[in-house]
């Protein structure tokens, strides 16, 4: 079950990368997000599952679709078919190497065992990672101001 979900995530990501049509690629990316969110639900992590669906599969997909709509008259970017054709080769090779390496590492690496958590999510998010919230505010401001600066009307520098 778990492997099926992860495989679905990988398949839709591959589709998103290899499709020529941008709109279908964006939707494929959103579907991959949904698979990832279901994986998170199986991890007993509902908060991030909901966040992933609403933000990544929702907000980011909307941003992508609006950008695609705004740049529609660009004509087709001539992509060569070569990457799409040779991809399965590289992919299969990588998969084999990847799984073999991971298999061989099982049990070889020791780690400090973890204890179960006793607090609620709110406790951890607000009280343990408070500094991250300041940084989040900073990064949101940075994004907003960058977008405002990029879309400003007057005062364009002639180059």
């Amino acid at each position: 079950m778990h492997i099926a979900l992860l495989a679905g995530l990988v398949v839709f990501s591959v589709v998103a990368v290899l499709l020529r049509d941008l709109l279908k690629a964006a939707i494929s990316l959103a579907v991959a997000s949904i698979f990832l969110a279901v994986v998170f639900f199986t991890f007993n992590a509902p908060y991030i599952g909901v966040f992933e669906i609403s933000v990544v599969a929702g907000l980011i997909t909307v941003l992508f679709v609006s950008t695609i709509a705004l740049t529609k008259d660009s004509g087709d970017v001539k992509e060569s078919k070569l990457p799409v054709i040779i991809f399965p080769l590289f992919f299969a090779a990588f998969l084999i190497v990847d799984f073999l390496v991971m298999r061989s590492l099982i049990g070889r690496l020791i780690s400090i065992p973890g204890a179960a958590e006793q607090r609620t999510f709110g406790d951890v998010f607000w009280y343990q990672r408070t500094f991250d919230l300041v940084a989040q505010i900073g990064v949101i401001f940075a994004g907003v101001f960058s977008v405002l600066a990029l879309f400003r009307k007057s005062g364009r520098k002639d180059e």
């Binding site: 778990h2 992860l6 995530l9 990988v10 990501s13 990368v17 941008l22 690629a25 964006a26 990316l29 991959a32 997000s33 990832l36 994986v39 991890f43 992590a45 991030i48 966040f51 992933e52 933000v55 990544v56 980011i60 941003l63 992508f64 609006s66 705004l70 740049t71 660009s74 970017v77 001539k78 992509e79 070569l82 990457p83 991809f87 992919f91 990588f94 990847d98 991971m102 298999r103 590492l105 099982i106 780690s111 973890g114 958590e117 607090r119 999510f121 951890v124 998010f125 343990q128 990672r129 991250d132 940084a135 989040q136 990064v139 949101i140 994004g143 907003v144 960058s146 977008v147 990029l150």
Partner: protein, 102 residues
């Protein structure tokens, strides 16, 4: 570390591979950005899988949610840049963006 963690991390590696492959071979600006998005999915999976393997799901969720917030800012800025590039050159082809060389 239980074997489920290794399985998840191998999928993370696969997602990173797909994303980097996209960055190396695709020519459309928006497609390149989809590659970055796939990489971001891989990172989120890595954070959560590690949290799950260590039974510290709540902590990992905080990290992952913060990462998604950062990712949204980056996406917004990048798409704004892409739209501006389109306004300037009328095309989304990265091969047309080669003025800075040498």
């Amino acid at each position: 570390m239980n074997s489920a963690w290794y399985l998840d991390m191998s999928f993370v590696a696969v997602l990173l591979f797909i994303g980097i492959y996209c960055l190396l071979t695709m020519k459309n600006l928006i497609k390149l950005f989809i590659g970055i998005e796939v990489i971001a999915k891989g990172i989120t999976l890595a954070l959560m899988a590690t949290g799950w393997a260590r039974q510290s799901v709540l902590f990992a969720q905080s990290l992952a949610i913060t990462f998604i917030v950062v990712e949204v800012s980056v996406v917004a800025t990048a798409l704004a840049i892409i739209i501006n590039i389109y306004k300037h050159t009328g095309s989304l082809d990265i091969r047309k963006l080669t003025k800075l060389k040498g």
